[in-house]
Subunit: 228 residues, 2 copies
């Protein structure tokens, strides 16, 4: 099951052909989650979320009514809460809907404190268990998360570049089978080891580390500006 949650960041960062991707995912039995304004955005592209989560304070009454009419499961959060709407959505997706993998879209661009809240979410003890079942995707980037151990990272087609980002202190990091390899790297602070590349004709690289949590961001140069 490959489910999606749409957040409220500007459409300019959306993956290309997002409506079609989401439509197909839902038709194959995956669930779509609208996070706050994302619920309305799904509605506007002719899709109904299976689940909507938010305080919906950015929606007009008439817009919220549309969402409530279209979505079978609407869960209201309160603004002064410990968890963000996205964290609540993640929790419901994995615990109540038992999704196997969740991709966040509309989570980049826009207000960067929001993006960083999404990026750092998996560092919270209660969400760390979902780290390897979560992705963040936009028009140029695919972000995956990895716990300590040995990993083979598979290239997404046309995404030739990648960066390895330790979101915490890191110990004993190795990168092999890539353009720039690295052995037994440690750092006490977060660091973005950016601008690495898959080798030509090779669609994986190897990543291992002993301690920490790492994001791998696969990326490509922009292909075209979206129609907005």
């Amino acid at each position: 099951m490959r489910s999606f949650a749409l957040l409220g960041a500007p459409k300019t960062s959306w993956p290309l052909n997002l409506p079609n991707q989401l439509k197909q995912a839902q038709s194959e039995g995956n669930i779509l989650i609208g996070v706050d304004r994302g619920s309305l955005l799904l509605k506007e592209m002719g899709l109904a979320a299976n689940l909507a989560v938010g305080d919906f304070d950015s929606l007009k009454k008439s817009e919220l009514f549309q969402v409530e009419k279209a979505v079978p499961d609407v869960r209201y959060s309160v603004p002064e809460k410990d968890l963000t709407d996205t964290e609540l959505a993640l929790w419901y997706a994995f615990e109540d809907y038992q999704v196997e993998f969740l991709t966040l879209v509309g989570a980049t661009g826009g207000r960067l404190d929001h993006f960083l809240a999404n990026l750092f979410m998996v560092l919270k003890p209660q969400f760390r268990q979902y780290a390897e079942k979560l992705a963040i995707m936009d028009q140029q980037n695919l972000i995956r998360f990895f716990n300590a151990g040995k990993h083979t990272v598979k290239k997404m087609r046309e995404y030739n570049y990648f960066g390895v980002i330790s979101l915490t202190a890191i110990e004993g990091l190795n990168i092999s089978g890539a353009k720039y390899n690295l052995g037994n790297y440690s750092n006490t602070s977060p660091v973005s080891l950016s601008s690495n590349e898959f080798l030509p004709n090779q669609d994986t690289f190897k990543l291992s580390f002993k301690k920490g949590l790492v994001a791998v961001i696969q990326s490509r140069d922009i292909i075209r500006y979206p129609n907005i």
Copy 2:
């Protein structure tokens, strides 16, 4: 002296009226730095960088020639280097040009491993001294960095929202005079305390912490999509 460095991220994220802002800054005696493709982008908006830094591998020969003709100080980096082009630019700006404050633009959006390399740059021991003299600005966000101590954060006009992001472990964080205050907060991992707000009719909030490095991201909802 308020100097600027233009990086190569997509124009969609640029601050509004960037060419005019840069032109005025330069006319007031501040320096403009072009980082890699940013040097060409400055040229295209009718401005010549005072300093250009990069490996320029994304530029055609004719484009690089244009940059070399227009810019009095061009410094070439090598792709397999320990420092990113932006880090080199920062170093030259503060050490050789003795700038008092440097704002990075064109540093957000685009490839997110690049953005995170810029965000985490001040965590590196050799760059930590510049943390409070550095900002990252785009169309919706202004990022400032703070070392441990007591700070009064001034609101940028029309930027009603802010987030406090610890980029490291944090100890004894206090936020006061804001919509959501916080007392003696600690965390062993980075965290984005997002979606806070300045109080109405108040143009500062107070921030203090004992240990760590914090980014404050002031933001606003998008006003319009830029003409691109």
